[in-house]
């Protein structure tokens, strides 16, 4: 059974139909990369998965549980969105760290609030602290835990944002162009962290313009164009022998640069 099944997701803003029926599924431990030209709907798709946008049609199923089915009103209740959201994590292009908190506090804020709500006791606080420290070791920032975001480089901020998403243990971690806001010399350190996650079999969806990375890290690639999935499959296949004309055109533009 796949971890994630997305069926016929459609989304319209005003009069523009941005997603015109997206279908795909993802197995546990798989990394999926999503490529496509600007405006093809990649961000909108991730936002739908994270319940930041409500699709107009379609369904999202995680581990067999239908989280959202636009045809079934009982899955659309606002009160349950929050719990459902926790199946997903999202790392933004612009990091969006909380500026008034240190890196460590950024990572601990959400799980602490959740633990407090569930009246979990002191032991959990210790466990959380230990886990956060471990995460900082993984992202190579143990020595910067107590820095504020503005004291960190973009690459460091993005790595903290990844740790912040990971501590919530999402079933599927989504990345929306995690390196697009970074200077070229800083993208490597972020990609390295994501690569390590994929080696640990983290289930991920990565929207990216880093074609080489998309090919090497992903188990599966989706090429989106104009709100539809134009082509999907094994990265080596899609990148070396694209079947669709539009995929060929898109990829050739990248190989030129």
């Amino acid at each position: 059974m796949p971890v994630l099944e997305v069926r016929n997701i459609r989304k319209t803003f005003g009069r523009t139909e941005v997603l015109k029926g997206i279908d795909f599924s993802l197995d546990k431990g798989e990394a999926l990369s999503v490529i496509g030209s600007s405006g093809s709907g990649k961000t909108t798709l991730l936002r739908c998965l994270n319940f930041l946008e409500r699709p107009d049609a379609g369904s999202i199923t995680v581990n067999g549980e239908v989280l959202l089915d636009c045809a079934d009103a009982s899955t659309l209740r606002e009160s349950e969105i929050r719990r459902k959201r926790l199946h997903f994590g999202l790392v933004f292009q612009s990091f969006n760290l909380f500026p008034q908190y240190t890196a460590l506090e950024n990572v601990l804020l959400a799980p602490r609030l959740l633990a407090k709500e569930n009246h979990e006791q002191f032991a959990d606080k210790e466990r959380l602290n230990a886990e956060a420290r471990e995460l900082f070791a993984d992202i190579g920032l143990s020595d910067r835990m107590n820095n504020y975001p503005h004291q960190l480089s973009g690459g460091q901020q993005q790595r903290v944002a990844i740790a912040r998403a990971l501590i919530m243990h999402p079933d599927i971690l989504c990345f929306d162009e995690p390196t697009s806001a970074l200077d070229p010399e800083l993208t490597g350190e972020v990609l390295k962290v994501i690569r390590k996650l994929s080696e640990q079999n983290t289930t991920m969806i990565i929207v990216t313009h880093e074609m080489e990375f998309a090919r090497d890290v992903a188990d599966k690639v989706i090429f989106m164009d104009g709100g539809v999935i134009c082509e999907q499959g094994n990265p080596r296949e899609v990148f070396s022998h694209p079947k669709e004309e539009r995929t060929k055109q898109f990829l050739s533009r990248y190989s030129q640069n």
Binding site: N96, L109, L113
Partner: protein, 228 residues
Amino acid sequence: METFLHQLPIVVNALNVGFVQTLKLFAVTLLGAFPLGLLIAFGSLSKIRAVSMFTSFIIWIIRGTPLMIQLLIVYYFPGLVLHNPIWGGGEQGRFLAASLAFIINYSCYFSEIYRGGILSVPVGQTEAGLVLGMTKRQIFFNVTLLQMIKRIVPPISNEIITLVKDTALARIIALQEIIWAGQAFMKGSHGISGAIWPLFFTAFYYLVFNGIVTVLLARLERKLDYFR
């Protein structure tokens, strides 16, 4: 000179009493208008159109008319128009009426500053909180609020300093604040009459108090300098 030295302690005592009333009005206004302003800001940001339009209408009226008129209306309207003098005739009634008028007036001004402050926090902050499974309430109190406070400290400081001076308007309904106390020495009070200098002397009180307020607010601003 001799009369002045004789009058000084008497005048200072009377002005101190008036200034306590000024400070009380100042403090009550802030205590009331800080939270009420936030409520009004939420109203004007509400997605429910009826709510946001109603709030904008109230803000328009309050900001579009002089505080002095609002004071007169709050104080006299119940008694003279409704024939139900809820405030009574005493100093306490005048203080309650003045407090109400000041709180309403200042919360409308604060609400506009809050609204700008809330809107100036990038939506990415809220969205980051949402995808981490935080509730809107948790996001407001743990993420948005402090960033908003940082941005509104300078404009709110201006309003607070204006408020210190605006309290003098309460004199129009005969609240016995410091200007009232100073002016009393012209007509005659505590055995002194025809003296204008006590009225001028009140400026000194405002000046010193505003100096203290300015220093405190600057300190708060510096305290929030640790993040961007």
